[in-house]
Amino acid sequence: MPKTVRIGAIIIICLLVVACLAPVLTPVNPLAVNMGEKLQGLSRQHPMGTDQLGRDVLSRVLYGARTSMAASFSVVIICLAVGIAIGCIAGFYGGVIDELLMRLVDIMMAFPPFILPIAITGILGPSLTNIIIALALTSWVGYARMVRSSVLTLKHLDFVAAAKAMGSSRSRIIREHIVPNAVHPLVVYAAFNASHTILAISGLSFIGLGAQPPTPEWGNMLSEACSFMGSSPYLFIFPGLMIMLTVLAFNLLGDGLRDYLDPRLGTEVDL
């Protein structure tokens, strides 16, 4: 297993632990306003300082991990489910169904990646849920294309022919023979997609379309910090570092998994 996979996985696991145990790790309520402690620098009581409303930045960063990770995983899981379903149906059945589904994929891919989420949140209103829906609506197409191309290869292989000969139903062939073999490349893709999703969610929250105040989220924390870049730089440094760390972790994981799983790139490339 490449080191990159291990490093990426360890960081992600740490972030997940932090996200899950945020209430235990931080004694301070991330929503608790205290104007008397407004914009206080780093201290023992507030290791990452306080924001404009006197809220503890550390608590908000840790709770922000919860929001960002949950949203990112939600998008990836929805995309996996939809992408696998559509990719399998299109690839396995072929013909008109394939044609229709792939044209739908082409249409979805024709939209610039950020315009559709912005338009969707414009219609549905800004919220984290709507951002998850919007990103899932635009991201599933990559999964669907990837699964379809795998299925097109897999369905002509001997083990599928054998399953057919043994009288397995189509749904069973897809479920038990096609999907398990088609998901390997998806794991790599999902890791990269998770990092893109973290960035997209942060970006959309930064412009006010994602998580709504007072919910702590890294993107909206960065947005709130804009006015204080000169006077209180810690307000954007910590959420910024968390975004960078998370994206780096997913990229390391994706890179490592790609090297590990793709025989053409030479497995066991230990960096």
């Binding site: 929503l31 608790a32 306003v33 104007m35 407004k38 404009q52 409303l53 414009g122 209103g125 800004p126 006010g208 709504q212 105040p213 007072p214 947005s223 709130e224 804009c226 006015s227 204080f228 000169g230 006077s231």
Partner: protein, 521 residues
């Protein structure tokens, strides 16, 4: 002889040398004196100098135009009109215009220009709420006399004050293309003010130079360039980088301002920060037409629940918390009592909410406009303060369209709003926020009650100053008791400028640059 010639030559050469030196020195000093004095301002709105169906932004109107009258304190003073007669209890106003005034293109200012201006306002439904809806007809009686007939029931002092409105600034009929057509697009907005527009590029900049025909004291600067920079942060960066000399808040107040939390930083960096409080108060408005906000005790409880010192702290103390009265000093006949109207008292608030049946399960939403980060922060603060009284308020940060829809549909409980306005608008705006019969109230009302109306109408309508004063006092007291919403802080117009920009003055609530000079430049 030879010696005498030599001495004479030396003397002549010396005199010549001295003359040349003096001349050169004079030339140098005169060129130094005549070095153009230019000022560049960053402003968050486009001046709209060449608009298709507008009359220009407030800053533009103050720079290049005048009004028939000016509202100074609580009196209407002559401006382009040197006097006026009120007839039929104010239903007819005859203005006698100055004869010595010219527009910046050299053409004389006449009653036809006044008529042209009001025809344009009527054509494009501008200034409609505050003035146009109140005017029945306009009659030009001669080159320097014009009569306004006011609709029955609409007459009063408030109508006279509306002639001092920004949009009531008089423009030359030559401003449009084709000239003289009030419905045509503005091609070159020509006024009688101290400045004239020399160049304008939409959404980029407006260049002003002194109006050579101005009847008053000529501006000291040679040119003022107003750069349109919509993003607040970009305006701050512009002055920090030295690409502008000053940053000016929107003249109206309330938006397009220098972020309050940047003012201290800018001051520490050596910029001058000038402030003028407006007779405008930012309030927490409640939907008083529906339960539970139709209960005066709930509204009073809301007043007790909000810690206004914390609200002011949000803006680094640059804005004054509205603790002792509804409006700041510039509001008509406002009196500082020194006593807090509703002192911060969480227990009292919680008790009043409980008595009114409000619990943590009561659904209450607080609307905030997403494009205004200060408003969002303020709402977050209010939400947290109300949580301490046991109320569970849901904060809805909305984009402007959705916000407006919900406001129109009455689908809201609480929102941040403002009452009052810039000084020249203070009478019309108070009526517009509180009087349901004013045209403005429908889309922009704040609170009303039958108990407020008699005193309010006399306060803004009477031509007798004493009667106005007496009724304003009654109105303020009743408004306090009825607690239509929560006055939070008095808004202000700020100017941030380099130290070498001298003599920026506020006339009423508007920053003026007429006497500005640049030192050591």
């Amino acid at each position: 002889m030879k010696r005498a010639l030599t001495i004479t030559s030396i003397l002549l050469i010396s005199i010549l040398f001295i003359c040349i030196s003096v001349a050169c020195k004079k030339e140098v000093s005169s060129s130094t004196q005549s070095a153009p004095q230019e000022l560049t301002i960053a402003y968050g709105n486009d001046t709209d100098a060449n608009s298709k169906n507008g009359v220009g932004d407030m800053l533009l109107k103050i720079f290049n135009s005048d009004r028939l009258v000016e509202l100074v304190g609580d009196e209407v003073k002559p401006s382009l009109a040197e006097s006026w007669d009120l007839k039929d209890n104010g239903q007819t106003i005859v203005f006698h215009l100055r004869k010595d005034v010219k527009f910046s293109d050299g053409t004389p200012f006449t009653a036809d220009a006044v008529k042209f201006t009001y025809d344009r306002l009527k054509k494009f439904k501008l200034n409609q709420w505050t003035q146009i809806d109140r005017i029945a007809s306009i009659e030009v009686n001669g080159p320097n006399t014009i009569t306004f007939h006011i609709k029955p029931g609409q007459e009063g002092f408030i109508v006279l004050t509306a002639f001092a409105e920004y949009q009531s600034s008089i423009m030359s009929p030559n401003s449009t293309d084709p000239k003289g057509d009030p419905g045509a697009p503005l091609a070159n907005l020509t006024g009688t003010g101290p400045w004239k527009v020399a160049d304008y590029k939409k959404n980029q900049y407006t260049e002003f130079v002194p109006n050579p025909y101005y009847y008053g004291k000529k501006p000291t600067l040679d040119k003022v360039t107003v750069k349109y920079i919509p993003q607040a942060q970009a305006r701050v960066l512009a002055i920090q980088s030295g690409s502008v000399d000053a940053v000016v808040d929107y003249y109206h107040g309330g938006s397009s301002y220098t972020p309050r939390n940047m003012l201290k930083t800018l001051q520490d960096q050596g910029f001058q920060v000038l402030k003028k409080e407006l007779p405008m108060t930012v309030v927490l408005a409640c939907n008083y037409k529906k339960a539970p906000w139709n209960n005066v005790e709930v509204r009073q409880g809301l007043n007790y629940a909000v810690n206004k010192d914390d609200v002011a702290a949000l803006f680094d103390g640059w804005l004054t918390p509205a603790k002792t009265r509804m409006f700041s000093d510039l509001a008509p006949f406002i009196v500082e009592s020194g006593e807090q109207e509703y002192p911060f008292n969480l227990d009292q608030a919680a008790k009043m909410f409980k008595e009114a049946g409000l619990t943590g399960d009561t659904k209450i939403n607080l609307m905030a406009q997403g494009q205004n980060p200060d408003e969002v922060k303020l709402c977050e603060l209010i939400k947290s303060q109300l949580a301490k009284t046991g109320l569970n308020v849901q904060l809805d940060v909305l984009e402007s369209g959705l916000y407006s829809d919900r406001q129109k549909n009455g689908d809201w409980d609480l929102r941040v709003y403002y009452i009052g306005g810039p000084e020249r608008r203070k009478y019309t705006r108070i009526a517009g926020r509180f009087d349901p019969d004013s045209a403005e109230f429908g889309p922009a009302g704040y609170f009303t009650s039958p108990e407020l109306i008699p005193s309010l109408r006399k306060a803004v309508g009477s031509f007798n100053q004493e009667e106005r004063e007496e009724n304003f006092k009654v109105f303020y007291n009743k408004a306090k008791d009825l607690a239509g919403g929560v006055p939070l802080y008095y808004d202000a117009v700020f100017v941030v400028a380099k130290q070498n920009v001298k003599n920026i003055e506020y006339v009423s609530t508007e920053p003026r640059f007429d006497n500005v000079f640049i030192a050591n430049k």
